[in-house]
């Protein structure tokens, strides 16, 4: 099979997985249905993704690719944490259903799946850490371990999206989101 045919099949599976994960959730979605909707044999799924965890990770990076790309681009040239926060919030709001499912269900997954999926999310958090380090070296931010800021930022976002219905997250106005970002960025500064 040509390399590009393999890539095409892999992407078909990921697209099907994203649909199923959004429809039924990460826990309930079955690889059988994913295969059926991708029009591939069930065993083909496991050729490309030996475990469900790998399929979940690929679906996260495919669905949130724009987020990853924008964070990567911004973090290379800036020490502006506020900009990163805005990018993050905008992209999460665009993919609200997917992100809500992920943050609600990740703690319920088998620990072996949680471990790998959680670790792979470092592909997003690294950009915040890099920008915070740059800000610290430039004397703009206080001295602390950047992962503490990660706890706060992602903890807060995941809270908003875990309880999105109760908190009315979707109804948050721009000024509310700006206030959230301002609260967070102020906590980093000297």
């Amino acid at each position: 099979m040509l390399k590009r045919d393999k890539e095409r099949t892999k992407q078909k599976i990921v697209n099907s997985a994203i649909c199923e994960f959004m429809k039924k959730g990460f826990l309930e979605a079955s690889t059988l249905d994913i295969a059926r909707n991708a029009d591939v044999a069930h065993s083909t799924i496991f050729f490309y993704f030996p475990t469900k965890a790998e399929l979940i990770i690929s679906s996260i990076y495919s669905k949130l690719q724009k987020l990853g790309d924008k964070l990567d681009e911004e973090s290379r040239t800036t020490t502006n944490v506020r900009k990163l926060c805005k990018i993050f919030l905008n992209e999460v709001r665009r993919n609200e259903k997917f992100y809500s499912r992920l943050v609600k269900e990740l703690p319920l997954m088998p620990i072996s799946t949680q471990r790998v999926v959680f670790a792979s999310l470092s592909g997003f958090s690294v950009h915040f850490v890099d920008v915070i380090y740059k800000g610290q070296r430039a004397g703009k931010f206080r001295r602390f371990k950047p992962r503490i800021a990660i706890f706060f930022w992602f903890g807060m976002i995941n809270y908003l999206y875990s309880y999105s219905k109760l908190l009315g997250t979707r109804k948050l106005k721009k000024k509310d989101l700006d206030e959230i970002i301002r609260f967070f960025t102020k906590s980093l500064k000297r």
């Binding site: 990567d72 471990r115 959680f118 958090s125 690294v126 992962r147 990660i150």
Partner: protein, 86 residues
Amino acid sequence: MAKQRKCIVCGMPLQKKSDYPSGDTSKDYCKYCGDKEGLHPYEKLVEGMAKFIVKTQGMEKEEAMKAARKIIDNCDAMKTGRIKKE
């Protein structure tokens, strides 16, 4: 649009010359996963990735090591035999 190049071990995007080991853009891995001679040995890759996960996700070290081992065991470089478990 050209497909984004990524490190065959950790998946880091390879965009600038400074992402590559010694600026060598002919490599298919990043400067953290190898040098101009080649990929780092398995245990060094696991240790490096675990440190990265601890730094960026705040994971506990032992959990990060388990995650790193699993991620590297399933990476393209491992599947194609370019990394061997010691």
